[in-house]
């Protein structure tokens, strides 16, 4: 069951990456963008679940909901970002331009030697994070991924941009995250997604676009453990007045390094609240950049993974699971710590 939605959600990315890669570098961006129309139309018709998932999102953010035309255009935006990723990673001459906002805050953090954590979302093109790396070739950027997705992505990255595959850390083995700590110690950046909940994951709840949704607790715990400052990151696909497209890379400070011990609970609660409110704000700025093609609020996934009926307080206090995030109308179910 859990496996099924997981595959479905990544399905879009898989076809997009494959289609994008082969077309893009061969025919150039102009022609490739034209070809995206029939490709997107095909998947728009076939992938009914994705369409319905997006409709649920628009019901939360677009007054009156979205019509078919708007939903189709949203799919097209997704396809375009996948296509652009190819040019950005290959540093192709057709790579779209980008603007950077708020990176000075990150630079400041990097100078202090702690490294920084970028908390992202499936909003815009996280891959364009690498575009930020182009500014300073010495800046190491590492992205944490779940196995499966990263395996697929790695082979593509290796083809497009030799060396880039090393910047993806795959969760799996017990020592996987040591690599992340090492990157931060070298003054690098580490990116992790904070929006999608995977089966069995611990969650916190927050009000998101007017309704309670679940978010994964892991990224907050990781940020706390790493002891580095945390920034919200997104690379929004925008359209200029003259009709041309560009990316707007946004780095927004969320929290300083986590305090030790008992103060972590409040720190994580605060980080979760700020993350969700930043996510909501940027969704409103660029609604068609939302690339979670499932019902974020209603699906089993969006509703959270592991649930326990009994509450065992000790670990959740220690870990500091958020208890109220996102202001009014929110409820939280801090997940109890599993016992052996």
């Amino acid at each position: 069951m859990a496996r099924a939605w997981f595959d479905k959600r990544e399905y879009g990315a898989a076809w997009g990456i494959r289609a994008g890669r082969s077309l893009a570098l061969m025919v150039g961006r102009r022609a490739a963008r034209f070809l995206l129309w029939p490709v997107t139309a095909y998947f728009f018709v076939v992938a009914r679940d994705g369409r319905q998932g997006l409709a649920a999102y628009h019901a939360h953010i677009t007054p009156g909901g979205a019509g078919l035309a708007q939903l189709f255009h949203h799919h097209l935006t997704f396809a375009r970002t996948i296509l652009d990723r190819t040019y950005l990673l290959a540093r192709h001459k057709d790579a779209p331009p980008y603007e950077i906002h708020g990176f000075e805050n990150v630079e400041q953090a990097l100078q202090s030697g702690t490294g920084a954590v970028l908390l992202g979302a499936h909003l815009g093109s996280f891959e364009a994070a690498r575009a930020a790396g182009f500014l300073r070739p010495d800046l190491k950027i590492q992205v944490i991924m779940h196995p499966g997705i990263s395996r697929k992505l790695n082979s593509i990255l290796a083809a497009l941009h030799p060396g880039a595959e090393q910047s993806v850390v795959t969760l799996g083995g017990p020592a996987a995250l040591l690599q992340v700590k090492e990157t931060l110690a070298e003054g690098g950046l580490v990116g992790v997604m904070g929006d999608r909940v995977r089966a069995g994951e611990e969650t916190y709840e927050a009000s998101f676009l007017g309704e309670t949704a679940s978010f994964p607790l892991g990224p907050l715990r990781l940020a706390a453990a790493l002891g580095a400052p945390v920034f919200f990151f997104t690379a929004l696909y925008r359209r200029a007045v003259d009709g041309s497209c560009y990316y707007e890379l946004v780095f927004k400070p969320l929290s300083g390094p986590a305090p030790p011990g008992p103060l972590r609970a409040a720190w994580m609660r605060d980080l979760g609240a700020r993350y969700v409110s930043a996510l909501e704000a940027y969704c409103r700025i660029a609604p068609d950049n939302w690339f979670n093609f499932y019902d974020f609020w209603q699906s089993e996934v969006g509703r959270g993974g592991r649930r326990r009926t009994s509450v065992d307080g000790s670990r959740e206090q220690g870990r500091g699971a958020p208890t109220a995030v996102g202001g009014a109308g929110t409820a939280t179910h801090p997940e109890p710590r599993r016992k052996p």
């Binding site: 969760l171 995250l177 453990a225």
Partner: protein
């Protein structure tokens, strides 16, 4: 095989419980049970916390590229043995 904790294993068990805030008596950890996922049910973030606590307490840096990582984190016993060996 001996499932009793040695004194040093007890010390490491206490470090695990306090750094991860586990609702657990350190003496109750089976030194041969897997730490990761099954067994104690710790995840990769917990493992990172453990590595950080070990570096703080014993000055031992566990590295991601250590070829012995699969065995080091296998159990309380393996972890304690690694620390004891590298501390010396």
């Amino acid at each position: 095989m001996n499932t009793e904790q040695t004194d040093f294993e007890r010390e490491i068990a206490q470090l695990l419980v306090s750094s991860l805030n586990l609702a657990l008596d350190p003496a109750a950890i089976d030194p041969q049970a897997p730490l990761f996922r099954e067994g104690l049910g710790l995840d990769s973030i917990d493992m990172l916390e453990i590595a950080l606590a070990i570096s703080q307490h014993y000055g031992i840096q566990l590295r991601s590229d250590d070829p012995e990582n699969a065995t080091i984190f296998a159990s309380l016993r393996a972890l304690a043995a690694t620390i004891a060996a590298r501390r010396a």
